[in-house]
C-alpha cells in the first residue's frame, strides 16, 4: 500500500455528472471522468484492509485493494491485469454497478466516504483499452463445444470464461445484437452502447461465435453441443392488472427503454409504434432503478411532467440503514441522476385503476396506504389511508420488476445461469453466475 494515511488527507472525490442543463437534452453518458492524477490520488485512499469487506461484498470477489494499489502506483497495466482476474467486463460494472464494494468499504463505516472503486475500475479498463493492453487472448481449443442461449451479461461472462478454457462457444441471441439488458434495458446515458460493441468485437476476435435473432425454445435445444448454458434472463416483466390496463398509453418500462436504445442505434419505427413521452404527463409506477431509467428517458424525450410512485414506504434517508447495517447493502433513499433531472416522487401509493378517455389514458386512480406489521409474521399488511385520488397522466410506465422464469427439467449438460436462474438481479451477480457456471461446466466436462 503506497500511502497508508491518504484516507486522512485526501477527501473522496467523485467525477460527478454533467450539469443537468447540459445533459438533459441528449443521451450521452451523464457521468464525467477524473483526470488520471486525481484518479490515482483517489485510489490511494484504499487502506489495504486486513479483512477487505469490499472484496467480500462483491459477488465477483473483486479485489479493490490490489488494483487500487497498482493504480496509485501508476502501474495501469498491472491494475488492469489484477482487475480482470476477477472481472471480465469492468467497462460495464465500472459504469452501472451499484458498487456493493463501496458500501462495504471500511471508510464507508468510518465516515461514509468510501473509496471510489467503481470509477477507479472504469478508469483502469478505459485506460487499458486506450493503451491497447486489451488484446484478444486466443486459447488453445479442447475440442468441446458449448452453446450459450442469450447474450446478456450472464451469457457473455459464461462465454468468455468457457472460451478461455478452450471450449468453442456459440452464443445464440434472440435480438439483433448482443448485450441483453445492457443493450436493451439500460439507457445510453448510463452506458454507451459502443462500449458493448467494443467488447463483442473482442470476444469475436477471441473466437466466440455470435448468432443473432435466434429464438430458441429451451425445450428444444439445438443438437450438437457438449453443453448448454441458458442465459435468457427474465423476459417477463411484472404487470399491473387493474382496470384500464388495456388503455393506450400504459406501457411496460422496457417497451420504452429498449425502443429508445434501438432508435439511438439507428433503427426506424413507425409513428404508431413509438413509445415517446414528448409533451406528456408521465407516471412511472415502481420506485426502482428501471423506474429511474424511465424518468431519465422520459425527460430526454421531452415529457411535460414526470411522477414516480412506489407502493412501499419511503426508505430511510441518510447513509445508514438500521435494518441492513454495514457491511451489508443499505436500502436507503437513493437519488439518481435521473431523479435530479426532474420528477415528483411519492411513496406508499397503491394504484387502483387506470382512467381513460377514448381508449386513451388520462390518469391513474391511486390511494395512499400504510403498512402494518402482520400479527402472524411474514409480509406486513397493507392498509388504505386517505381517499383515492387521481394522478393525471398521458403515459404510464410500469417498472415493477420481472418475474422469475420457470424452466423445464433439463438434462445434465444444461446449465441455467444469471437472472434466468435466480430472477432479476444486478449485472454483477449475473457476471459472477456466468463465470461460476463456466468453472462448473469445465469441471464436469473435463472428467
Amino acid at each position: 500500500m503506497g500511502n497508508p494515511k491518504a484516507f486522512l488527507s485526501v477527501p473522496r472525490k467523485e467525477a460527478g455528472y454533467r450539469p443537468i442543463h447540459d445533459r438533459i437534452h441528449d443521451f450521452g453518458e451523464v457521468e464525467q471522468t477524473l483526470n488520471s492524477n486525481d484518479r490515482r490520488t483517489q485510489a490511494s485512499r484504499c487502506m489495504d484492509c486486513g479483512v477487505p469487506f469490499c472484496h467480500w461484498a462483491c459477488p465477483l470477489g473483486n479485489k479493490p485493494p490490489e488494483w487500487n494499489d497498482a493504480l496509485f502506483k501508476g502501474d495501469w497495466q498491472l491494475a488492469y491485469e489484477l482487475l480482470t482476474t476477477d472481472n471480465d467486463f469492468p467497462e460495464f460494472t465500472g459504469r452501472i454497478c451499484p458498487a456493493l464494494c463501496e458500501k462495504a468499504c471500511v471508510l464507508n463505516l468510518m465516515d461514509h466516504n468510501p473509496t471510489t472503486n467503481r470509477e477507479d475500475e472504469c478508469a483502469i479498463i478505459e485506460h487499458a483499452f486506450s493503451e491497447d493492453y486489451v488484446q484478444p487472448r486466443i486459447p488453445s481449443r479442447n475440442g468441446k463445444t458449448v452453446a450459450v442461449i442469450g447474450g446478456g451479461p450472464a451469457g457473455l461472462a459464461a462465454s468468455t470464461r468457457l472460451n478461455q478454457l478452450g471450449y468453442k462457444v456459440t452464443v445464440l441471441e434472440a435480438c439483433e445484437s448482443a448485450g441483453g439488458l445492457l443493450r436493451y434495458g439500460i439507457p445510453n446515458f448510463k452506458l454507451n452502447k459502443a462500449i458493448i460493441d467494443r467488447r463483442i468485437a473482442l470476444l469475436e476476435a477471441e473466437g466466440i461465435e455470435f448468432k443473432y435473432n435466434q429464438n430458441i425454445d429451451s425445450t428444444k435445444l439445438p443438437k450438437g453441443y457438449d453443453a448448454y448454458v441458458i442465459a435468457s434472463g427474465t423476459p417477463t416483466a411484472r404487470d399491473l392488472t387493474i382496470p384500464g390496463r388495456e388503455l393506450n398509453g400504459v406501457y411496460l418500462a422496457l417497451e420504452m427503454l429498449s425502443q429508445q436504445n434501438r432508435v439511438l442505434a439507428g433503427m426506424q419505427f413507425k409513428n404508431n409504434e413509438l413509445v415517446n413521452a414528448k409533451g406528456k404527463d408521465v407516471l412511472v409506477i415502481g420506485g426502482g432503478d428501471t423506474g429511474s431509467d424511465c424518468i431519465g428517458t422520459a425527460n430526454r424525450q421531452g415529457a411535460k411532467s414526470v411522477t414516480q410512485i412506489e407502493i412501499m414506504p419511503k426508505p430511510p434517508v441518510g447513509p445508514e440503514d438500521p435494518n441492513s447495517p454495514w457491511p451489508n447493502w443499505p436500502r436507503t433513499m437513493k437519488t439518481t441522476s435521473s431523479h435530479e433531472e426532474g420528477c415528483t416522487r411519492r411513496w406508499n401509493i397503491n394504484s387502483l385503476e387506470f382512467l381513460g378517455k377514448d381508449g386513451k389514458l388520462t390518469g391513474v386512480k391511486v390511494q395512499e396506504i400504510t403498512w402494518e406489521p402482520n400479527p402472524e409474521g411474514g409480509r406486513p399488511i397493507m392498509k388504505p389511508v386517505g381517499k383515492p385520488e387521481v394522478i393525471k397522466a398521458d403515459m404510464v410506465l410500469l417498472a415493477m420488476g420481472f418475474l422469475k422464469p420457470q424452466h423445464p427439467q433439463f438434462q445434465d449438460n444444461v446449465f441455467v445461469v444469471g437472472d434466468a436462474a435466480s430472477g432479476a438481479s444486478l449485472v454483477v451477480r449475473a457476471l459472477a453466475s456466468g463465470r461460476d457456471i463456466a468453472e462448473e461446466i469445465d469441471r464436469k466436462l473435463s472428467h
Binding site: P4, K5, F7, L8, M47, D48, C49, G50, V51, P52, F53, H55, W56, A57, G61, K63, P65, E66, L78, E81, L82, T85, A104, V106, L107, L109, M110, D111, R137, P325, W326, P327, N328
Partner: protein
C-alpha cells in the same frame, strides 16, 4: 536417568533448573573442617535460591564437592594407602540386593581390568528421617568405594584411569538407580535430592570435625518440576553450574558427531569411553561430561572452559588480538555451549569460577586477609569482619578466576588468557590457512535472473504477499516487515492448501528459566560468523591444518559467492553439488528413495574428501520435483552424524523455496552452514528491472541480506543464543503436525505432540505446486501471482477465523444487544467449513440437565478477563471502555505494559471505576510505580507475549503523545522500547524473587505470570508455581499484537491447546495444580472455545481480539501504523474521533458468552464451570475423512493426569511474608506515616533479608490510596530514616517511596533500588573497612532497574546493567559494569569511574555523566542513539557539581570530596552522554521557553 515416563505431553527433557552456587577456598590449600562447615553455611544462606516440591519438604537437590578427607577416612578405620594413591567416591545403588550385586560385580570387573582392586566398600551413614516423601521414595543405597592398587609409575595417570573405569562402568550398567557421584583420587562429591538445609543433616560425615578440605564447592538446585532426581543434584564430577545451556541439543549432537575425531594419546581410543555425554542427564551434567573429558585429555581447566564457554571476541570487546585468534581458532573446532552460566569448577587442586559471555548470572567474590576466598551467587553468604576483607569483586562476563591451591596463587583472567593465547601461534595459523570469503573476488559474472520467473515462482509456491509483504520490505528497508493482530489462519497440517514444508515448524524461545538476548542493543555478544570446510584432527591435537577453512561473515550467500565457493581451486578446496529432487511420478516412494540416495551420496562425498557439499534444487524440471530443502538438509545432517562423518564436511543449501527469515533459521538450525536463496535473488532482479522499487540490485540484495541477518540474530536471541555456530544444528524448533516416524528418521527428534503427516503428504504438496507450474506454463497464463491470503483475507485464500461474517455479526450482536444475532455469530465462528484450530477437532460428551441448575451468568463472567493491551497500543477510549466493562461485570481488565494514568485509579464513569484491576509488569517497566502496583488486584508479570515471544516491543515516537508520555514516565515524541528480557528475570529463582518483591509491595494482589505456549511450557509453569505465582497464563501463539515482526507472529510459539494441556498435565502430576489458577488466551471467540479450553485445564479465559472487535475493530491489521480508522488502536485524535465502541458492547459480549456457556454446561450436565476444568475424558475427537487430518493423534493432548486432589485452584500459596524485616520497620514507622512525622531506625541486615523497604513502601502508598478512595486528599509525607549494617539481600530498597531514606553500611546484592519510586538510598562500605571504596564492588547487578523517581548514591562500584530503563531517578555511583544506562528514558546518572562495555545502549532520554579519567570512554559507549560531549555549558556543570555534592553528603565518598576540592580540574575529565532524540526535545523545550518569553515581552509592550 529419567524416572517419569508419561503418555501425556510432559517430557522430562524439557526440565530446567537454576540455582545458587558457592565456593570457599583456602588459597594455600590449607585444609580445615571450618571450610566444609562454612561452605554448608553458605549453602544454607542461599536457600531462597533453591526450591521445594509440593510436599514442602523435598528439596530439588543440593550437594558439595570437597577434597578427599584423607584423615577422616583413616579415622573410619579404612586402611587406605597414602594420599593420592587411592580413588574414592560415592555411588548411588539400587536398594534391591540382587541388582546391587550385579552392578558391583561389573564394577569390580572393570576395576580389575585396569589392574586395580576394589579395596573397600563403605556404607555411607545417612539420616533419611529428614527427607521429604518424594526424596524417600527414590532414595538410593549410598556406598563409598575405594579403589587401590596403583603402582608408583602410574600415579600420574591414576586420575585418568579412574575416569576410564567410571566411563566403562557407566556404559555397561543401565540401571536407572545407579549413579557414580564421583571417582577420583583428589576430590569427592556428596549430594542428593535434598534441600540446602538437609545436606548437613543427611550426611553426618560432613559434620565430623575431622572431615577437612581446602576447597569446598556447593550448589543448591531449583528445578522447574518436582521430579528432580538424586543423580541430577550438583556439583557434578568437576563443576557446579548455575544457569542453563540453551544450545544443548546442538552441543550434544555435535559432540556425538565429533567423537570420531576425538581420540587422543592420553586417553586412547574414544570408543572405549563413548558416549562422552551420559544420556538422559541434564544440560549441566552434559557440560560437566565434556569438560571432564577435555581435562582428562590433557587440556588445562581454564583452557577447557575457554573453549566451551568462550567470551565474545568481536570488535566491541577489549581483548588482545592474540586472544581473539585463540578464540577464533577454537571456534572453528567447537561451537560454544551457550546460555546463562555461573560456573564453579575444581579438580581438587585448582578451583575456579567463570561467567558466560553475557554475564547473565551473578557471581561475587571476597578475598580475606587470611587468604580465604569466597565466590557465590550472592554476597553476605558468609560473615566477615569488615577489617578482614582484602578485596571484593565480581566475576565479569566471559572472565575466569582460578586458584592454584598447591602454589597458593590466584590467577586473574588477564594472566590466564594471556598464557592460553601464547600456547601456539594461533594468529599466524589463521592468517596462513583460513580464507575469508568476503575478500575473494572472481572475474566471473553471475546472473541473478531466472527465465520463466513466474512459472518458477509458482513451482516454489510464491504468492503476491511473499513479494509485496515480505521480499520488497526487506529489500527496501533492510528489515523484516511488521504485522499486527495475530495469526488466525490454520496450522499447516490443518490447511487444505499445499504447504511449504517450513510451515510445519515453530521457533522455540526462552522464557523464565533463561533470558532472551537483546539482539539489537547487546549485539556485541552476538556473531553470525561461520566456517565451512573439513575439520581435521580436532581439538585435542593443536595444528594449523585445523584452520584450513573458509570464513563466512554470515551464512547468507549471494549467487556470486556461491559460485566462488564452488570454484575455489587453490589450497585443495573442493566441493560437490548434490541435487535435491525426486521423481514426481513416484510420489512419496520417490521422495523416500531420493532421500536415501542423497544421504548415501553425501556420505560418499565425505569419504571422497569434499570440503563441503552443496545441496541444490536448481535442476528441478518436469520430472524431477524439488524436495523441501529443509527435509533434505536435516536428513543429510542427521544421517552423517549417525555414521560419524558430519564434522568432516559442511552443508550448503541452494534452494528456491527460501524467502523468509524463518526459512533461513530453520535450515541453519537443522544443520546447514550457509544458504543461497536464488529464487529470491531472481525476484529482486525482476522487481528492480521493472522499477517496482527504487533501489538498484546490489542495494536491494544487500538490504535483503541485512534483513535476514537481523532476523537471524533475533531468532537466536529469542532462545538466548549468541552465535550462529552454536545455533547451527541446535534444532531450536518444534514441529506441529509431522508424524513421529518422520521426525525420528529425518529430524533426530523422538516425540511428536499431535502426530501428523509423513513423506507421502509432503511429496503430494511438493508435486501439487510443481504441477501448478507446469499447468501455468502450458496455459501461458498471464494473470499476476495470486494473493494467498496470509495477511489479508481473501475469498479463495487461506482461511481466517476473523472474516467478514464473524466480524460484522459480532459487532451487530453486541451493539444491538441481540442474543439471537450473537448465536448467529457463534455459529459462523464455530461451524467453520474446515478446522482452523485444534479445538475444532473436538466435540464433548452430553448428559443434559435443566439450564436453571447451572450457575448464573454473573458467576460465569468472573472467569473472563481482557487481554493485556497497553494504553499506547490502544486509544484512550478503547482502553477505558475495557476497564469499565470488566469493572461493571466484576471481572478484570488488564493495563497492558504501558502503565496507567494515575487519575484513573480513583475516578469513575457512569458510576463505574476506571481502574484496571490487573496491572501488568513487563520488561520495559513503563509506569510501574509503587502507586500503580498498590492499586492492583492482580499484578501480571509478562514474561512473553503470544504474538512475539522472546522479543521486546517498541512504541514508535509518533504514538507517544503528552498523555502517554505521562503515563509511561517518558517524554512525548520519543520512541519507547521494551527490552526482550526482564533484566531482573534471568532464571527461575530470579522470577521467584520478583514475585516476592511484588507480593511485598502489594500483599493483597494475586501475582500472575504470563507464559507463551511451547513444548516444555508445562515444566516452566511448574517452576513458576514453585516460585509462588498465584496465577499462570498460558498464552497461545495465535494471540494478537499491536505490532510484531511478521515471522514471529506466524512462527513463534504453538497453539494454546497444546500448551495448556501440557501445563495442566504437568501441574496435576506434580501436585501443584490446586495452588494456582490457570488462564488461557489465544483467539478465543465463543462459548464453545471456552468450554474446550476449560476441559483442557483452564479456569480463566482471556479475550483480546474479540473484545476489540466489539469495540469497532475491523481487523485492518494496521495497528503499527497509527492509522486505525475505527479509533481503536491509534492515538491520532482525528481517528479517535471515529471510535464507535462503548463499554456496554463489551458487557453484552461477555454476558452473551456466559449465557452460551451456561447452555453448554446444561447440555453436558454440569452446574458450574469449575466442575469441567481438566476433564479431558469429556472431549471426543471428531471423525474426519481427510487423510491429512486423520494423521493427527490427540492421545497425548487428551491424556488426563492424576496426582493432585483438584483439577483447578482450591488453595492458596504460602508467600512467606511473615517475619520479614519490613514488618519491624513498618511497626516502627506507623506513627510517622499517620502523623507525617519523622522517625529514625537502625537494623542489622543479612543477605536473606530480601526486598527490604518494599513492603513498607507498599504500606505507605496503600495508606495514601485508601485516604484518596475516601475522597481525602491529605498530603502524606512522613520522614522515615533507616540505617542498615551488613550485606543486604536482593532487591534492597525496591519500589522505595518518597519520604523513606535508607542508608546501608555494607554491601548489597542484585536488583537494589529496582522500581525506585521517590525514596532515597545511600550505600557505603563499612566504616571500619580499609580498602579503597571506589575500587570495590559493593552492589550487584541490575540496580535501579525501571526506577521512576528518587535518589541513589553508592560509594563504590556496581555490577552489570545499572540503571536500565531508568525513567526519572538520579544516581551517583563510582564505577559500573557492562550495559550501564541501557534503555534509559529519563533521570540523571553520574559514574565517577570506569564503565563496562555498551554504555547507553538504547538510551533515549535522560542524561549521564561519566568521569573519563583514562580518556577511553568512547570505546565503551554504544553511540547508536547518543552523543557524547565535554561538559561545557554552565547549567550542566552546575547540575553535575550539585549531584556530586549530594553524593558526598549522603555517602561521604572520598573520591567525591577530592573532586569537589579540585572541581575545575576534574570537571574537564567528565563526559556528558545525551540521547540524540532527547537533545531535540530539550532544544524544543528551550525554544518553546524562549518563544514564551518573547511573547510575554511583546505583550508587556
Amino acid at each position: 536417568m529419567q524416572q517419569e515416563t508419561t503418555n501425556g505431553l510432559y517430557n522430562a527433557s524439557n526440565e530446567h533448573d537454576a540455582c545458587g552456587v558457592g565456593m570457599i577456598v583456602n588459597i594455600h590449600g590449607n585444609k580445615s573442617h571450618e571450610i566444609v562447615d562454612s561452605a554448608l553455611k553458605v549453602l544454607e544462606n542461599l536457600r531462597h535460591r533453591g526450591a521445594e516440591g509440593a510436599d514442602g519438604k523435598t528439596g530439588d537437590g543440593a550437594g558439595i564437592l570437597l577434597q578427599i578427607p584423607h584423615e577422616f577416612i583413616l579415622l573410619q578405620g579404612i586402611p587406605v594407602p597414602e594420599k593420592g594413591k587411592y580413588g574414592t567416591g560415592l555411588v548411588f545403588l539400587p536398594k534391591e540386593k540382587k541388582r546391587q550385586q550385579e552392578i558391583l560385580s561389573i564394577m569390580i570387573e572393570e576395576i580389575e581390568r585396569e589392574g586395580l582392586s576394589l579395596m573397600h566398600l563403605r556404607n555411607v551413614p545417612t539420616n533419611p528421617e529428614c527427607l521429604g516423601e518424594a526424596a524417600i521414595s527414590t532414595e538410593p543405597d549410598i556406598k563409598q568405594i575405594f579403589v587401590t592398587g596403583v603402582t608408583d609409575d602410574k600415579v600420574d595417570s591414576f586420575e585418568r584411569t579412574l575416569y576410564i573405569i567410571r566411563k566403562k562402568i557407566e556404559k555397561r550398567v543401565a540401571d536407572e538407580d545407579f549413579y557414580i557421584c564421583s571417582l577420583s583420587n583428589k576430590s569427592i562429591v556428596y549430594k542428593g535430592m535434598l534441600s540446602s538445609l538437609q545436606l548437613r543433616q543427611y550426611y553426618p560425615d560432613l559434620t565430623n570435625n575431622y572431615f577437612t578440605s581446602g576447597i569446598a564447592l556447593v550448589h543448591s538446585r531449583f528445578s522447574t518440576n518436582t521430579f528432580p532426581t538424586w543423580s541430577l543434584a550438583q556439583p557434578f564430577r568437576m563443576l557446579a553450574h548455575n544457569g542453563e545451556i540453551n544450545t544443548i541439543r546442538g552441543n550434544r549432537g555435535w559432540m556425538q558427531a565429533r567423537e570420531s575425531v576425538l581420540s587422543s594419546k592420553r586417553l586412547g581410543s574414544v570408543s572405549d569411553i563413548s558416549p562422552i555425554i551420559q544420556p538422559d542427564m541434564s544440560d549441566s551434567a552434559s557440560l560437566d561430561n565434556v569438560f571432564e573429558f577435555f581435562v582428562m585429555s590433557g587440556l588445562s581447566l581454564p583452557h577447557a572452559m575457554a573453549v566451551m564457554v568462550p567470551e565474545s571476541f568481536n570488535d566491541k570487546n577489549p581483548i588482545s588480538e592474540d586472544l581473539k585468534a585463540f578464540y577464533e581458532y577454537h571456534s572453528i573446532l567447537m561451537e560454544p555451549w551457550d546460555g546463562p552460566a555461573a560456573l564453579l569448577f575444581s579438580d581438587g587442586r585448582y578451583a575456579g569460577g567463570m561467567l558466560d559471555r553475557n554475564g547473565l548470572r551473578p557471581a561475587r567474590y571476597t578475598i580475606t586477609k587470611n587468604d580465604t576466598m569466597v565466590v557465590a551467587s550472592e554476597v553476605g553468604v558468609m560473615d566477615f569482619d569488615p577489617s578482614e576483607i582484602a578485596e571484593k569483586g565480581r566475576l565479569q562476563p566471559g572472565k575466569i578466576l582460578l586458584i592454584d591451591t598447591l602454589d597458593g596463587k590466584i590467577y586473574y583472567d588477564g594472566e590466564i588468557k594471556e598464557r592460553l593465547a601464547a600456547q601456539h601461534p594461533y594468529r599466524q595459523w589463521l592468517n596462513t590457512n583460513r580464507i575469508e570469503l568476503e575478500k575473494i573476488h572472481s572475474g566471473r559474472k553471475i546472473s541473478n535472473k531466472i527465465d520463466d520467473l513466474k512459472i518458477k515462482e509458482i513451482e516454489f509456491g510464491f504468492g503476491e504477499e511473499d513479494i509485496n509483504d515480505t521480499i520488497i520490505p526487506m529489500a527496501t528497508s533492510g528489515q523484516e516487515p511488521t504485522a499486527s493482530m495475530g495469526n488466525d489462519t490454520p496450522l499447516a497440517v490443518l490447511s487444505d492448501k499445499p504447504q511449504l514444508f517450513f510451515n510445519y515448524f515453530r521457533q522455540q524461545f526462552a522464557q523464565v528459566t533463561n533470558p532472551a538476548i537483546d539482539s539489537i542493543r547487546e549485539n556485541l555478544v552476538m556473531s553470525l560468523t561461520e566456517y565451512i570446510g573439513r575439520v581435521g584432527t580436532g581439538i585435542l591435537n593443536p595444528d594449523e591444518t585445523n584452520c584450513k577453512m573458509v570464513r563466512l561473515s554470515h551464512p547468507i550467500l549471494t549467487n556470486t559467492q556461491l559460485d566462488i565457493l564452488c570454484n575455489i581451486r587453490y589450497k585443495g578446496f573442493n566441493t560437490i553439488k548434490l541435487p535435491i529432487t525426486f521423481d514426481g511420478s513416484r510420489g512419496g516412494d520417490g521422495l523416500h528413495e531420493a532421500l536415501d540416495e542423497l544421504c548415501s551420496r553425501a556420505e560418499k562425498s565425505v569419504d571422497d574428501g569434499y570440503n563441503y557439499i552443496i545441496l541444490t534444487d536448481r535442476d528441478s524440471d518436469d520430472n524431477n520435483v524439488a524436495m523441501p530443502s529443509l527435509l533434505a538438509v536435516s536428513a543429510v545432517h542427521h544421517y552423517l552424524i549417525s555414521v560419524g562423518k558430519r564434522v568432516q564436511t559442511a552443508l550448503i543449501v541452494e534452494s528456491g523455496d527460501i524467502r523468509e527469515v524463518m526459512h533461513a533459521a530453520l535450515l541453519l538450525g537443522y544443520g546447514a552452514s550457509a544458504l543461497c536463496p536464488y529464487m529470491t535473488y531472481a525476484i529482486l532482479d525482476d522487481i528492480v528491472k521493472n522499477g517496482k522499487i527504487q533501489e538498484n540490485y546490489n542495494t536491494a540484495e544487500a538490504n535483503y541480506i541485512k534483513a535476514v541477518k537481523k532476523g537471524l540474530f533475533k531468532i537466536m536471541a529469542k532462545m538466548g543464543i549468541s552465535t550462529i555456530r552454536s545455533y547451527r544444528g541446535a534444532k531450536i524448533f518444534e514441529s506441529i503436525g509431522l508424524s513421529e516416524c518422520l521426525l525420528n528418521t529425518y529430524f533426530g527428534t523422538e516425540t511428536s505432540t499431535i502426530g501428523g503427516i509423513g513423506l507421502e503428504t509432503i511429496a503430494k504438496d511438493a508435486i501439487a505446486m510443481h504441477n501448478d507450474s507446469i499447468e501455468a506454463r502450458e496455459k501461458k497464463t498471464e494473470t499476476p501471482l495470486p494473493t494467498l491470503g496470509q495477511f489479508h483475507w481473501r475469498k479463495d485464500g487461506i482461511q481466517h477465523a476473523w472474516n467478514p461474517e464473524t466480524i460484522a455479526t459480532l459487532q451487530l450482536a453486541t451493539r444491538t444487544g441481540n442474543y439471537d444475532t450473537f448465536k448467529k455469530y457463534t455459529a459462523f465462528a464455530d461451524k467453520k467449513e474446515k478446522p482452523i484450530f485444534i479445538r475444532d477437532f473436538f466435540d464433548f460428551k452430553r448428559r443434559p440437565i435443566p439450564i436453571e441448575k447451572v450457575e448464573p451468568v454473573e458467576k460465569i463472567v468472573k472467569h473472563f478477563v481482557t487481554g493485556a493491551m497497553s494504553f499506547g497500543a490502544l486509544s484512550k477510549e478503547a482502553h477505558e471502555a475495557l476497564a469499565l466493562a470488566m469493572n461493571k461485570l466484576g471481572a478484570r481488565s488488564n493495563t497492558g505494559e504501558g502503565g496507567e494514568d494515575e487519575d484513573r485509579f480513583h475516578s469513575t464513569f457512569d458510576g463505574i471505576s476506571l481502574n484496571s484491576k490487573t496491572k501488568q509488569v513487563a520488561s520495559g517497566r513503563f509506569g510501574v510505580t509503587t502507586e500503580y502496583l498498590t492499586n492492583a488486584e492482580e499484578i501480571q508479570i509478562k514474561v512473553a507475549q503470544g504474538a512475539k515471544p522472546g522479543e521486546g516491543g517498541q512504541l514508535p515516537g509518533f504514538k507517544v503523545d503528552e498523555i502517554i508520555a505521562k503515563t509511561r514516565h517518558s517524554i512525548p515524541g520519543i520512541s519507547l522500547i521494551s527490552p526482550p528480557p526482564h533484566h531482573d528475570i534471568y532464571s527461575i529463582e530470579d522470577l521467584k524473587q520478583l514475585i516476592f518483591d511484588l507480593k511485598n509491595v502489594n500483599p493483597h494482589a494475586a501475582i500472575s505470570v504470563k507464559l507463551v505456549a511451547e513444548s516444555g511450557v508445562g515444566t516452566i509453569a511448574a517452576g513458576v508455581v514453585k516460585a509462588k505465582a498465584d496465577l499462570v497464563v498460558i498464552s497461545g501463539a495465535e494471540g494478537g499484537t499491536g505490532a510484531s515482526p511478521a515471522s514471529s507472529m506466524r512462527f513463534a510459539g504453538i497453539s494454546p491447546e497444546i500448551g495448556l494441556s501440557e501445563t495442566q498435565q504437568t501441574l496435576v502430576k506434580n501436585g501443584l495444580r490446586s495452588l494456582v489458577r490457570l488462564q488461557v488466551d489465544g483467539q478465543l471467540k465463543t462459548g464453545r472455545d471456552v468450554i474446550m479450553m476449560a476441559l483442557l485445564g483452564a479456569e480463566e479465559f482471556s479475550f483480546g481480539t474479540s473484545v476489540l472487535i466489539t469495540l469497532g475493530c475491523v481487523m485492518m491489521r494496521k495497528c503499527n501504523k497509527n492509522t486505525c480508522p475505527m479509533g481503536v488502536a491509534t492515538q491520532d485524535p482525528k481517528l479517535r474521533a471515529h471510535f464507535r465502541g462503548s463499554y456496554k458492547y463489551v458487557v453484552n459480549y461477555f454476558t452473551f458468552l456466559a449465557q452460551e456457556i451456561r447452555e453448554y454446561l446444561a447440555e453436558m450436565g454440569y452446574t458450574s464451570l469449575n466442575d469441567i476444568v481438566g476433564h479431558t475424558e469429556l472431549l471426543v475427537p471428531l471423525a474426519t475423512d481427510n487423510a491429512k487430518l486423520a494423521s493427527l493423534d490427540f492421545t497425548r493432548l487428551l491424556h488426563k493426569e492424576t496426582g493432585d486432589s483438584s483439577m483447578y485452584c482450591t488453595k492458596s500459596q504460602e508467600h512467606d511474608l511473615e517475619g520479614i524485616l519490613d514488618k519491624q520497620i513498618i511497626s516502627g514507622s506507623k506513627k510517622a506515616i499517620e502523623t507525617n512525622g519523622e522517625v529514625d531506625l537502625d537494623f542489622a541486615i543479612k543477605n536473606t533479608d530480601r526486598a527490604v523497604g518494599t513492603m513498607l513502601s507498599g504500606y505507605i502508598e496503600k495508606y495514601k490510596s485508601d485516604l484518596r478512595e475516601k475522597g481525602n486528599n491529605k498530603v502524606v509525607e512522613p520522614t522515615i530514616n533507616v540505617k542498615f549494617k551488613g550485606a543486604a539481600g536482593q532487591s534492597f530498597g525496591a519500589f522505595l517511596v518518597n519520604g523513606v531514606d535508607f542508608k546501608l553500611e555494607g554491601e548489597t546484592n542484585d536488583y537494589f533500588a529496582k522500581g525506585l519510586s521517590g525514596g532515597r538510598i545511600s550505600i557505603l562500605p563499612p566504616i571500619r573497612s580499609n580498602f579503597n571504596a571506589e575500587d570495590n564492588i559493593i552492589a550487584g547487578n541490575t540496580g535501579l532497574y525501571g526506577a521512576t523517581s528518587g535518589e541513589l548514591y553508592i560509594n563504590g562500584k556496581v555490577g552489570e546493567r545499572f540503571g536500565v530503563r531508568n525513567s526519572g531517578a538520579i544516581s551517583v555511583i563510582e564505577g559500573a559494569g557492562d550495559h550501564c544506562c541501557e534503555y534509559m528514558t529519563g533521570g540523571r546518572i553520574v559514574v565517577l569511574g570506569e564503565t563496562g562495555r555498551n554504555f547507553a545502549a538504547g538510551m533515549s532520554g535522560g542524561v549521564a555523566y561519566v568521569w573519563d579519567k583514562n580518556h577511553n570512554f568512547d570505546y565503551f559507549c554504544n553511540m547508536d542513539m547518543v552523543e557524547i560531549n565535554l561538559v561545557e555549558e554552565s547549567s550542566y556543570r552546575k547540575e553535575l557539581h550539585e549531584l556530586i555534592r549530594q553524593h558526598y553528603l549522603y555517602t561521604g565518598s572520598k573520591l567525591a570530596r577530592t573532586m569537589l576540592d579540585d572541581w575545575s580540574k576534574y570537571v574537564e575529565d567528565f563526559i556528558q552522554v545525551v540521547p540524540i532524540e532527547y537533545k531535540r526535545v530539550l532544544q524544543e523545550e528551550q525554544v518553546k521557553k524562549l518563544q514564551q518569553k518573547i511573547a510575554d515581552m511583546q505583550r508587556d509592550y
